[in-house]
């Protein structure tokens, strides 16, 4: 059996196990076992993949397999990975693993919570291993719908509103996607849904011009493309901790990945026509997200807007269409996934203790909960791009790559986007200063405790990954750069 199918089978088994389990401890047991298996599997896959590449494997995708599913409609269940999807799988399994620990004590309806959580992660894994447009789209939607219940039931604040808004906007995006996918399928002759096969054919220019923006918008909604990012702040702010982690950390990456793999790879001429329009929108995302974060007072909203800005940077870098910038985009996905998960985990833990996320009501937390506070500082520094942590590597690559375009328009966009770095520093440092340092504002807070063991597991794992990516980025960027090449060579300048 194909190793990639395990990424779908393990979550399925987890679902069955969860369904059968009778107590909270059994639920936790199933979750930890499953999440660890997934993590081990993705680490093994990465090592194996690198090994095969070093041994001289030159195919675009490795571990490919295909089973005919709906023969009359040319729908197959086909899997395959390249460096980009391997990196994404690794990221997802890290987030699922740490997310399990971050929601260790979640009440009530623990079993149901993890059922939907696992279904969501199954969708994510399935999306990244698929090379068939139909299954890709199917897993994409599988990943979206559990969000509604996860936010609606276990969320906080205006959860019902946020859940409905998020679901409808993302599903609206998938409506665009569906028609775009049908357009690609019939545009490429209506004989195959396999990405790699379609890439070898030529979709007529007229079709590309119509369907490129549909696909790009469809995925862009999930990638928080301005002005379709509105679901993101509300959704992230209302979601329970692990769901915010998974959503900002992984789900939003589906958007960037899809834009790159489906829209730009399959419709390069469409990308050439529409690239500039979307570039303007993503530049707005980057700057607008950063500025919006400055005025927020709710910790989660700050981070949500910061996510808009950073995910905007992913799409921005992709649209710059140079090899370096696209490698940077993938690095940024990884880096943002890790650090934003860390951020949301810490915010959730702090909120669980102080019962407020308002920056103005907190202060001096460093004295009370040093472990969480230090974690928060590290996450903040990664976010604002301190060298040595993952954010720096990613943003540096993005901006250098973007500046390689030597026309005025691209360079101006790059310059505008770089201002976000400064603004990021403003809101991060301000929040860190307000809530961690200074005097304790609320005497009640003095009674609070520091992180428990399960929280420490989640935080330490994520910090290790953020630092690891920052200190030794080369193996990762090699892994990615290799796979970016075939897609870039497709694009016409």
């Amino acid at each position: 059996m194909n190793i990639l199918s395990l990424f779908i089978i393990i979550p399925l088994l987890m679902l069955a196990g969860l369904w059968a389990s009778r107590s909270v401890n059994q639920v936790r047991g199933v979750m930890v076992t499953g999440a660890s298996l997934l993590l081990a599997l993705s680490v093994y896959l990465t090592a194996h993949y690198i090994g095969l590449r070093q041994a001289g494997a030159t195919e675009e995708m490795l571990f490919t397999a295909s089973t005919v599913w709906y023969a009359p409609l040319h729908i197959c269940y086909s899997t395959g990975v390249d460096g980009i999807s391997v990196a994404m799988l690794l990221l997802s399994s890290i987030i699922v693993f740490t997310g399990t620990f971050a929601s260790w004590k979640l009440q009530p309806m623990t079993k149901e919570y993890f059922l939907w959580f696992t279904l969501l992660s199954m969708g994510v894994f399935g999306f990244f291993v698929s090379t068939d447009l139909f299954t890709m789209f199917m897993f994409y939607e599988v990943a979206l719908i559990p969000m509604y219940l996860l936010i609606g039931i276990w969320g906080s604040g205006r959860k019902e509103y946020a859940a409905m808004k998020l679901t409808l906007m993302l599903m609206g995006g998938s409506a665009f996607l569906l028609i775009g996918i049908l357009g690609i399928f019939y545009g490429a002759g209506g004989e195959t849904m396999n990405l790699l096969e379609i890439a070898r054919r030529h979709i007529p220019f007229e079709m590309q011009r119509i369907f490129f923006p549909l696909i790009f918008l469809g995925f862009g909604v999930l990638g928080a493309l301005f002005p379709f990012h509105m679901w993101s702040p509300d959704g992230h702010a209302s979601a329970p901790t692990a769901v915010s982690m998974l959503h900002a950390g992984v789900l939003m990456k589906l958007g960037g990945y899809g834009c790159f793999r489906v829209a730009m790879y399959l419709m390069p001429e469409g990308a050439a026509v529409w690239g500039d329009v979307f570039l303007i929108l993503t530049t707005i995302s980057v700057v607008y997200g950063a500025f919006s974060a400055v005025v927020q007072t709710d910790l989660k909203y700050i981070n949500a807007y910061s996510s808009v800005s950073h995910c905007g940077l992913v799409l921005f870098a992709l649209l710059m269409m140079t090899r370096t910038s696209c490698t940077g985009a993938i690095l940024q996905m990884l880096s943002h996934g890790l650090m934003t998960a860390l951020f949301f985990a810490l915010i959730g833990m702090i909120y669980g203790r102080t019962h407020t996320r308002d920056v103005r009501l907190m202060g001096g937390l460093m004295k009370i909960m040093p472990f969480l506070a230090v974690g928060y500082v590290i996450a903040g520094l990664a976010n604002l791009g301190l060298p040595g942590l993952s954010g720096f590597i990613a943003e540096m690559t993005v901006f250098v790559g973007s500046f390689q375009n030597n026309d005025t328009f691209h360079r101006v966009c790059t310059l505008v986007a770089t201002t976000s770095i400064v603004v990021t520093a403003v809101y991060i440092l301000r929040v860190v200063g307000r809530i961690l340092y200074g005097n304790v504002k609320n005497p009640e807070h003095l009674k609070l405790t520091d992180a428990s063991w399960d929280e420490r597991v989640a935080v330490i794992c994520l910090i290790a990954c953020v630092a690891g990516l920052g200190l030794a980025p080369f193996w990762m960027s090699d892994l990615i750069g290799h796979s970016v090449e075939p897609i870039i060579s497709h694009l016409v300048k």
Binding site: P72, M138, G152, L178, L182, Y186
Partner: protein, 472 residues
């Protein structure tokens, strides 16, 4: 005329046999034994199903009766649906005020089913009309089955009046066809259709007649009141079985008989599809009564089914029948849950009544959620596949814009389906409906529906089979 030909109509003959047996049982079964009627009906219908499982092509009476393989598959599907409805009707038929006339319920339902069979496999407009009437008139009696309820009587009156009206229009359309072509045989008409204004009018009248049955906008006005007033079991039957049969018959006649006028009817269909889906969706949002809600939901589903008709290709035919199968599973699951709760609580069918249902009845809630997700077209449930294939068929025939509008509408439909999910899972409630166990027949039918929802999409065999048949 070769009278032996009648023996070839296996499905209809065996269904008539079931009908007669039920009639005799109803007449001669002594009162203490009458409770046996309910299992007997299910068993007989199941036997009928088994006897007709093998799809085949039958032509009898010089082409007056023409049953294609895919039509016989659809007949089996409708029989399964009816069987599920019979199972769901069990609790309701045990009630004091319906118990003494349970035999009538089965007889009326079986005769409508027989009518649909004739409609599906008609090769002549007269037989088609006969089937249509046979499927409609007993339905009116079914709708008023709870005759002491004011709502039910009102529903019946609305149903029969609009049904008669549509039959009249339909008949008028047929007479125009006869007047311009000189024949009513499906096989002979196409060569004589040239698209004169009178023939276009005939097409429109024919279409309007069926549109009443399918409750397409603007012929949908009876639907909500009828669904609300009719007994829940009958609403379920009306929304899936009768709709499925009418959709298939519409597609068969439009492609087969009106094939030369495809240019005209596809324009008409485009307009009707867009208005049907959009208006039904907008009205569904405002409904609090779940039966009215399901009425509008089923109107919009009919719009999606029509996308397959619009495609007008073998691919469209396969996806149409597939859509009907999946739709039967999902819709009957929803109606089953509504029915169970209504019977248990003596009439709670408002959305607010469902608040907090998950805490007391997690299994029923899960069934309902899966079914609603399937109706909304969420993977990995079967509804996703059926919607995707219908869209694919229409897209393949070049109706990009219509597919796009339909897709945008799925978002609206997702909104109102989620409202019910929200009520059950999220909305707090001090006094939710208490925990209860559904009856065994109901549980069987819900299990079959859920199995259908979960399995029909993942296993590609069903679609494959339909595709092979519609190529023939």
């Amino acid at each position: 005329m070769d009278l032996i030909a009648i023996l070839h109509m296996h499905a209809e003959l065996s269904l008539t046999a079931v009908f007669i047996l039920m009639f005799l049982l109803d007449l001669f079964l002594p009162t203490p034994q009458r409770h046996r009627l309910r299992p007997m009906a299910c068993i007989l219908l199941a036997l009928q199903l088994l006897a007709n499982l093998w799809p085949e092509e039958v032509i009898a009476f010089g082409g007056m009766y023409h049953s294609t393989p895919i039509a016989s598959v659809l007949k089996s599907v409708l029989t399964v649906g009816t069987l599920l409805v019979f199972l769901q009707a069990d609790t309701w038929l045990q009630r004091e005020d319906t118990r003494y006339k349970q035999g009538e319920f089965y007889l009326l339902t079986l005769s409508t089913l027989l009518g649909m069979f004739f409609m599906i496999s008609a090769g002549h407009f007269l037989l088609f009309f006969l089937g249509l009437e046979l499927a409609t008139v007993p339905m009116a009696c079914l709708v008023t089955f709870d005759k002491y309820k004011g709502h039910s009587a009102e529903a019946g009156a609305k149903f029969i009046l609009s049904a008669l009206f549509s039959s009249g229009i339909f008949l008028y359309g047929i007479s125009m066809i006869y007047g311009t072509t000189g024949t009513l045989y499906f096989d002979d008409i196409p060569s004589r259709l040239v698209g004169t204004p009178l023939q276009i009018l005939a097409l429109v009248f024919f279409f309007s007649g069926l549109a009443f049955k399918l409750s397409l906008v603007p012929f949908h006005l009876w639907t909500a009141d009828t669904y609300q007033g009719a007994p829940t079991t009958v609403s379920a039957y009306l929304s899936v079985i009768s709709k499925g049969a009418a959709a298939f018959a519409l597609m068969a006649v439009l492609t087969k008989v009106f094939g030369p006028m495809a240019g005209q009817w596809s324009q008409m269909l485009c307009l009707v599809i867009v208005t049907t889906i959009t208006i039904a969706n907008l009205f569904a949002i405002r409904q609090n009564n779940l039966k009215r809600f399901m009425a509008f939901s089923s109107i919009s589903q009919a719009g999606y089914i029509l996308l397959a008709v619009l495609a007008g290709t073998p691919q469209g035919m396969a996806s149409l029948v597939y859509y009907i199968i999946v739709y039967i599973a999902a819709n009957l699951a929803v109606f089953g849950v509504i029915n169970a709760i209504e019977q248990h609580t003596h009439g709670q069918i408002e959305r607010e009544d469902y608040n907090g249902l998950y805490r007391t009845n997690p299994k029923l809630t899960m069934v309902m959620t899966l079914a609603l997700f399937s109706l909304a077209g969420i993977p990995p449930f079967a509804g996703f596949f059926s919607k995707f294939f219908v869209f694919m068929a229409a897209f393949h025939s070049g109706y990009y814009l219509i597919v796009f509008i339909a897709l945008v509408n799925t978002i609206i439909s997702l909104y109102y389906y989620l409202l019910i999910v929200k009520a059950m899972f999220i909305q707090p409630n001090e006094q939710p409906i208490g925990h209860f166990r559904t009856t065994v027949p109901m549980r069987i039918s819900l299990l079959v529906c859920v199995a259908g929802i979960l399995v029909l999409g993942i296993l590609s065999g069903v679609y494959q089979l339909l595709n092979d048949m519609s190529l023939l």
